[in-house]
């Protein structure tokens, strides 16, 4: 990166040898050679000999001459370029200051020895602390504390909703009464005033609750983080005395203990999961070397992966798994489609409890907006330039269909990362989208990002729709599912070559209301697209 790639030059290698009848008449040979020469000169000599029918007794001489020629020319090539540079420097034709600054920057930003001494960032310290604690006997307490905090938030939210409802009810009542008196006792003017007063009241109440919630989240976050750090110190002090009674399993409350000991599958699902349609497969991908992946097709609302109900005791096992792997390299993610992220339902799930690790969803979205604005608008401008005017000029949003924004969460049910795939709902309703559709290309980016960021388990809407609508007939679903599955197959194979984590588990979600027959037909589609791994059969000896 510090050497400019100069265009290679072509030099002519000249060689002559006497003709057989007359010593003074020479055969002249001229071969253009690219400098610097990338191949072997001896091979070039062989080609020359063959092509021009050069007598073989000249082979050794040619070998030597050509090798010398190339060595000499290569040296000259470098030296001349360098000499030019140095002369420019001597004559002050170069921007020395710029060059030196550039080097300074390179050294400072990329090499440890010259970089500014920075301590470990706060978030990493906290991450390490948390990761250590959730893998210690303190896990149970942490979960309990988080759960009780979540309950407080939930209660507050409930109070807020009740309060607002009460206000709305009383306002409605008042309004109705006034309306009855319209043209009798009061004027339209008065009604309008009332409306604006009501609106003001609403805003005030919502604002009050908003700030209460904010304050609550703030205190909870501060308290929780402080408590975690102090717990870590205690844990360090007492870590010498690890007795069996201290072991995680011993101290778990029955619910959590059961969750750990019992069969994990049914418990790791949302309570709503009872009786939902799903089917799992283990598949092999790759033509020679096979990689194993688990895929599951399931009829569910993807937001069930995000929602947590603090009052439900079985939820703690879901949270347990999510907390344990939060700072590991086995993250799980979900792809949510929306026209303008975040979708309100996700926002509700994310604010259902306090976010202790990352910024809250609002702030994350704001940061994303800020940072995405410039590159996205550059891109949009470039796109507008290349497209005929008037086409697609309507949308003024910075994010376009196919763009993906990612948010991180520690307080959702099963996922750590949410990929918000921006889509154009209208075009996705159409039955014939191709593999070049923005949503599909966005999916490709999602899978690649997942691989290179250690997201090993990902859930995505198989039909690229979260809900059923009337045009989604059986045939429509089959066609869409086939397209998505085939594309995903290609993307997973491609992403595997990028040298990141393996996408171990893929969940394909169908709208929960899907017809059982359609589900069954889509489930049978899977084994025709992916190679299902053979079950290992053990044969009894003898």
């Amino acid at each position: 990166m510090d050497t400019e790639t100069l265009p290679n030059v072509t030099k002519t290698f000249k060689y002559s040898f006497p003709t057989c009848t007359n010593e003074d008449v020479l055969f002249k040979l001229e071969v253009p050679v690219e400098i610097p020469h990338s191949g072997s000169t001896r091979e070039l000599v062989q080609r020359v000999i063959k092509m021009f029918h050069i007598p073989v007794y000249l082979e050794d001489e040619l070998n030597e001459r050509l090798a010398n020629f190339v060595a000499e020319e290569t040296k000259t090539f470098h030296n001349e370029r360098d000499e030019k540079l140095l002369n420019q420097l001597k004559n002050s034709e170069l921007n020395v200051e710029g060059i030196v600054r550039n080097w300074e920057k390179l050294f400072k930003e990329n090499v440890v020895d010259f970089a500014e001494q920075k301590g470990t960032p706060d978030e990493e310290v906290f991450a390490a602390a948390y990761h250590k604690l959730v893998h210690s006997p303190a896990l149970e307490t942490i979960l309990q504390v988080e759960n009780s905090y979540a309950k407080t938030v939930k209660d507050t939210l409930k109070n807020r909703d009740e309060d607002i409802k009460k206000l709305t009810d009383s306002q409605t009542e008042e309004m109705e009464e006034k309306m009855k008196l319209l043209h009798v006792d009061c004027t339209e003017e008065e009604i309008n005033q009332l409306v604006s007063r009501h609106l003001e009241q609403q805003i005030v109440v919502a604002g009050r609750w908003g700030s209460t919630l904010d304050a609550l989240a703030h205190t909870q976050r501060a308290q929780h983080r402080a408590w975690l750090m102090s717990t870590l110190d205690q844990y360090h002090d007492s870590s010498a005395l690890t007795t069996p009674s201290n072991s995680p399993l011993g101290t778990f409350s029955p619910a959590v203990g059961a969750a750990l000991g019992g069969p994990p599958a049914p418990l790791s699902m949302a309570p709503a999961a009872q009786g939902r349609m799903e089917e799992s497969f283990t598949i092999h991908l790759g033509s020679q070397l096979k990689q194993t992946h688990n895929i599951r097709i399931v009829a569910m609302d993807l937001l069930d992966l995000c929602n947590v109900d603090p009052d439900n005791p079985t939820e703690s096992s879901r949270r347990l798994q999510t907390s344990l792997s939060l700072y590991s390299s086995e993250l799980s993610g979900v792809v949510l489609l929306s026209e303008s992220p975040p979708s309100p339902r996700l926002a509700a799930a994310a604010t259902g409890s306090t976010e202790y690790h990352f910024c809250d969803l609002d702030r994350q979205m704001r940061q994303i907006d800020e940072q995405v604005k410039e590159p996205a608008e550059d891109r949009n401008a470039a796109r507008r330039g290349s497209q005929p005017a008037g086409h697609g000029g309507g949308s003024r949003k910075t994010l376009r269909a196919g763009d993906v924004v990612m948010t991180r969460h520690s307080n959702l049910g099963d996922v750590h990362v949410v990929f918000h795939l921006v889509v154009d709902d209208h075009s996705l309703k159409s039955g014939d989208i191709t593999s070049r559709h923005p949503a599909i290309l966005g999916l490709r980016n999602v899978l690649k990002a997942a691989c290179s960021n250690d997201v090993t388990s990902i859930s995505l809407p198989l039909l690229l729709r979260h809900e059923l609508s009337e045009e989604m007939t059986g045939a429509w679903c089959a066609r869409r599912a086939e397209l998505v599955l085939k594309c995903v197959k290609g993307f997973v194979l491609e992403a595997a070559g990028a040298g990141g984590a393996e996408l171990r588990t893929l969940h394909f979600a169908l709208p929960p209301a899907i017809d059982a027959r359609v589900f069954a037909s889509l489930a049978t589609l899977l084994p025709t697209i992916f190679r299902i791994s053979n079950p290992l059969k053990f044969k009894a000896a003898g």
């Binding site: 990166m1 091979e43 060059i99 300074e104 090499v111 010259f114 994303i368």
Partner: protein, 807 residues
Amino acid sequence: MYQDNEDDYKFAACTYFAKNHPGETCGSNGLPLTPSSITILGLAQRLLTIEHPNLCTYLDIIRGKHERIIVVAEVVGKSLSDFKSKFTINEVVNIAHQVADALKFLHEQGITHRTLSDDNILVDGEGRVKLFNYGLYYMTGGGNEVSFPLGLPKYLSPETILNGGGPAADVWTFGIILLELCIGKLWQNLKPGPILRRILTLVHANNPAERMAREHDCYDAYKQLPENLRLVIEKCLKIYPRERATFSEIVDDLSQINTSEMAEVKQPRGLMGCKLQYLYHWWQLAGGDIQAELKKNGLIKNSPPILSMPIAILLDGCTIGGKTGALFDCRIAKYSLGLLKSRLSHISAHDYYPLMHERRKQYDAVSLPKIIRERDTEYQFYRLLWFQRLLHGYPYTAPYIRAEAEIDIPPLVRGDVWAALLGVVGDIEEQYERIDKETPTPTDRQIDVDIPRCHQYCWLLCGSAGHRTLKRLLKAWLLMNPQYVYWQGLDSLTAPFLYLNFCNEARAFACLSAFVPKFLHNFFLKDNSMVIKEYLAKFWQMTAFHEPELASHLHEINFVPELFAIPWFLTMFSHVFPLHKIVHLWDALLVEGPSLPLFMGVGILRQLRDTLLESGFNECILLFSDLPEIDIGECVKESIDMCRSSPRSISYRRFTNEARTKEPMDMVEIPMEMLFAEICPRISLSDFFSLICQDKSCVIDIRSNLLYEKSCIEGSINVPYSGVHLGQHELRALGLNPQRVLKEAMKVKKTIVVASAEDETAQLFSDYLVKCSVPRVCIFHGGISAVQTHLPSLFTTPAPPNKNGNK
């Protein structure tokens, strides 16, 4: 437990990240761009082969997760920067002489060092010098594949700072280091910026060396240096690269100044005397973990991935936010061989020097599966030393190598052993050099399409270095075999040889050239239909011979080998399996010879047997379109068993490059149409004779009982063809005695030979037996009459009790 000893630190690792490709990730050919780490891996392979007394041998280049590269190389002593005391002039000259020697060698190889510094010049206790990690510039494609700047500011030459710089930049750096050795460190406590500015101002100096000495208040010290040494320094520190001396001149100069004689070091014996590559290999097998030590030294830091998640990805792949590349840390982690030493401590001294004609010891590990043996430290220790010995004596030791390869081949020397098994000898480099691999040919297009699809999961083969070499190999082979054309699959066939001889193209080519005539004679003809048809027919016969039930099922559903087995044999399975399985398959192939692949095919079918038996035509097609996992160890074992237990003549093919036999006793050749019609193979008279002698055959004479009673082969049973109901697929239908005899024969795995007067009845009856699931059925070539002519002594008149039993 073992104790770490300073001398045990034999190798070290350093690590860095390759550059990430920004934005759009498709190359001009529409395929994803090769990740930088793959390119580095491919370039670095050449470094692994470089050996020079003053260079630290590269041992391994590892590609980690997320574009991490780990370089493992030899280390000795400590680096110049770690020496606190000053060197005497004699020592300085000695060190400089060796460094210049190393650099001269590198420049001859076309490798520019660029990163030479006092950190990577290692000096051991005896004053021996080795350069460490001299290939960073080379393996990163001149720094193009990494995002950090190469080299240290104070060692950069002026033209390098100006973004130029060729090999002559190394001369400058060498001059600076030499100057530092003489007058002390330069520009200490200065930041990169000021250092670079100072270097650039040197261009105005007439004598940069003197100027630097003056700047550091060392002018007097500098002037006191011997004049010839000063001259060398000044020759190096010329501003214009053209004026600088080359390393061969410097070496000459220094060798005149250098008076110190290197003490002859006695080659260490025992473990430390083994090749470093072997030590590294054993150390890994003994549980050595490169990454663990790097982590311990803080050279691999794992920040939780969720913290470095990007925040958005635009449709065109432009990623916003997220990971900021880790900084380049030039520190190294050293590894101790203590672990390996203690693991091998009980091995007696003379086991390090095995004698060729000594009786070989048997190791317990031999009975374990091959994959486990390949991971067994001690077993690999013995095997490697033994193979090293044998390979040293090649080609005279060829028979020994073959015998040992039959047991197993140590993975580390597999390339050498394969070449030996294929009989590669002579000046292969020169032969290969003479072939024109560059001139475009009409097949280039197809080759270009196929190569990026050939074993691309293998990191070596998927890089540009791999692609280029594979193309050269294919072109060379096509040019040398004008009778052949490029059939898709040739690329897969070449891949294993390239994989094992990545830095030895000539040997890969020689192996391929020896392999094809032996195993795939005439397979790559423009019209290869007859060759392939014969091969498949033979394969089908072998299936019937060893797996009659499966064969008749597949016959029934009309699932013929043309539908699935052509790529198997055309590529000798290299298109079907991943490389790590192919090598085990081919290990056996190369030892056992050209008839083994037929049985390997049967071995694969046998593993799928249960599934196939319950599948119809469509399921079978689906199953083979993407072959399920096959246990290769098992498949190889069984196919060797089958191959060895089958009479040689039954797998006879006419399209081989072996000389045709004229001996009527060995003949089994029949017209092709007949071959395609026959389900059971034919056995030659001589094979039959040897089976009879070992009592491993059971002859069924299907002539009429009149003829049989007149004279018959001794021990044969008579089942008159006219009395057989071909529709009834049950042995019972043949009668009590034949059933008993056949059952008995099947139990002891005798070969069932059908003898008849006419070919047609023999064929129909043998088909019938296969349908009855009788294994090991074959037909007499030439029928009874041939036996009567050539082996009359076998004939007798049937004994009366037999006759009674039949009646």
